[in-house]
């Protein structure tokens, strides 16, 4: 069933790309923008996978120090979550591959178009079905797949673009329906960080200096000899507050990336619908929204790297 739906998508989007080829001035820009949006979506899912892996490690540690068992059955729930997120990342990458192929198709000569269309069809067959975990993939894509099958004419730009727009709508619908779980994963990371940091600092098992050192750097006032200066309650509390703030910062960036990705998919779908008309279409605004999402995701990576480097310096 999954493969069949993927195949239907492949046939129809291949038809779209052939149609897009008749308007060579629009297809390359649509391809570039769509590819960037799909890439940002895949990176967003990758980030959620990394957050889940972080949560898994931290919960294993926290359970151990508090004497709570972490049964295999419960770990399997996290594995299932990761599998679901990875499947979605794969879906996003396949969408990006389709847009890349669309760009290649639009830039090819008329005689090479059929071959390019075939390659595009093959790449689209790789689009996986959604996992059973939270949504019925057949139900989500059934309406689009039906319309896709209705596209018989390769040069039917109107139908093709509308079909692509509906595909983007369905992906955005999936995003919005699962939004609460995505955001919850970030909050779960916050709770792990807060609980573990509190336990380690309160029991004087970890040094509060790494987060405090950053403040000293910011204001240009180095701490007095840290070997002699024993952090008091207020300094320990301040270190804890900084650790929590950094975790929340990752969350805020992740939520911002989600918003920008969702908006870019919505705008991209609207552009596809505008392709049916004859007026000028500019993709710049969509691309700017995608770039903002990319910037958010880059910042998350930077914060994660900073935390690791800080820890290495401390060690």
């Amino acid at each position: 069933m999954r493969k069949k739906t993927g195949f239907r998508l492949a046939v129809v989007v291949a038809a779209l790309s052939l149609g897009g080829c008749t308007d060579s001035s629009r297809a390359p820009e649509a391809a570039k923008t769509g590819s960037a949006a799909a890439g940002a979506l895949a990176s967003y899912y990758d980030s959620l996978v990394q957050t889940t892996l972080d949560v898994w490690e931290m919960e294993t540690f926290y359970s151990s120090i508090t004497g709570v068992s972490l049964e295999r059955e419960q770990e399997a729930l996290l594995e299932r979550r990761i599998e679901a997120l990875r499947l979605r990342a794969t879906m996003a990458r396949s969408l990006g591959g389709a847009y890349d192929a669309l760009g290649a198709l639009a830039s090819s000569k008329a005689g090479g178009a059929p071959d390019a269309a075939n390659k595009l069809g093959a790449s689209l067959q790789a689009i996986p079905g959604m996992p059973k975990a939270s949504l019925d993939p057949a139900g989500l894509f059934a309406a689009v797949a039906g319309k896709l099958l209705g596209v018989k004419q390769a040069r039917d730009v109107l139908a093709g673009s509308e079909t692509m727009a509906e595909t983007l709508d369905r992906i955005r619908e999936l995003l919005e329906r699962e939004r609460q779980v995505y955001e919850s994963i970030g909050r779960e990371r916050d709770v792990e960080v807060e609980s573990i940091a509190t336990h380690l600092l309160r029991n004087r098992m970890a040094s509060p200096w790494p987060p405090l050192d950053r403040i000293a750097q910011l204001i240009g006032l180095p701490w007095l000899d840290q070997a002699k200066l024993i952090p008091d309650e207020k300094l320990t509390q301040a270190a804890l507050a900084l650790i929590q703030m950094r975790s929340r910062r990752i969350n805020l960036l992740s939520e911002s990336a989600f918003g920008n990705i969702s908006r870019s998919l919505e705008s991209l779908a609207a552009k596809h619908r505008e392709m049916a008309g004859k007026g000028e279409i500019r993709f710049g605004d969509v691309l700017r929204t995608v770039r903002r999402a990319e910037s958010d995701l880059d910042e998350i990576d930077k914060l994660r790297t900073q935390a690791k480097q800080q820890n290495q310096v401390t060690q």
Binding site: G67, Q180, V191, S195
Partner: protein
């Protein structure tokens, strides 16, 4: 946000933040075992909920959501007064039981 999911998330996160404090307040190993068991159950409820879609239209879910919310409020009150650890454990256990019931309504 699904109210049912929010309740299960809140229940687990509240226990997570207070686990160390509750364990320290326990008088004996029996009490500590109870606390750990309820925590693991709440964690499982939350993780299962992440892998499912809630049907907010289900009347039973709505009823259980209201019950779980009430339990959550009691739990937070009890956690604010840890001097009565035995009472707190009973209230937490009742709230987690409701959460387990709520999670069971959601199809796998």
């Amino acid at each position: 946000m699904s109210e049912s999911f929010a309740v299960l998330e809140s229940q687990y996160f509240t226990l997570h933040r207070n686990l160390s404090g509750m364990l320290s307040a326990c008088k004996d190993e029996t009490e500590r075992t109870r606390v750990r068991t309820e925590y693991a159950q709440a964690r499982g409820n939350y993780w299962r909920a992440q892998n499912k879609v809630f049907d907010e239209g289900n009347a039973e879910v709505l009823k259980a959501t209201a019950e779980a919310k009430a339990g959550q409020a009691k739990m937070e009150q009890a956690l604010a007064h840890l001097e009565s650890i035995a009472t707190a454990i009973e209230i937490v256990a009742a709230a987690v039981r409701t959460g387990t019931r709520l999670a069971s309504f959601v199809p796998v």
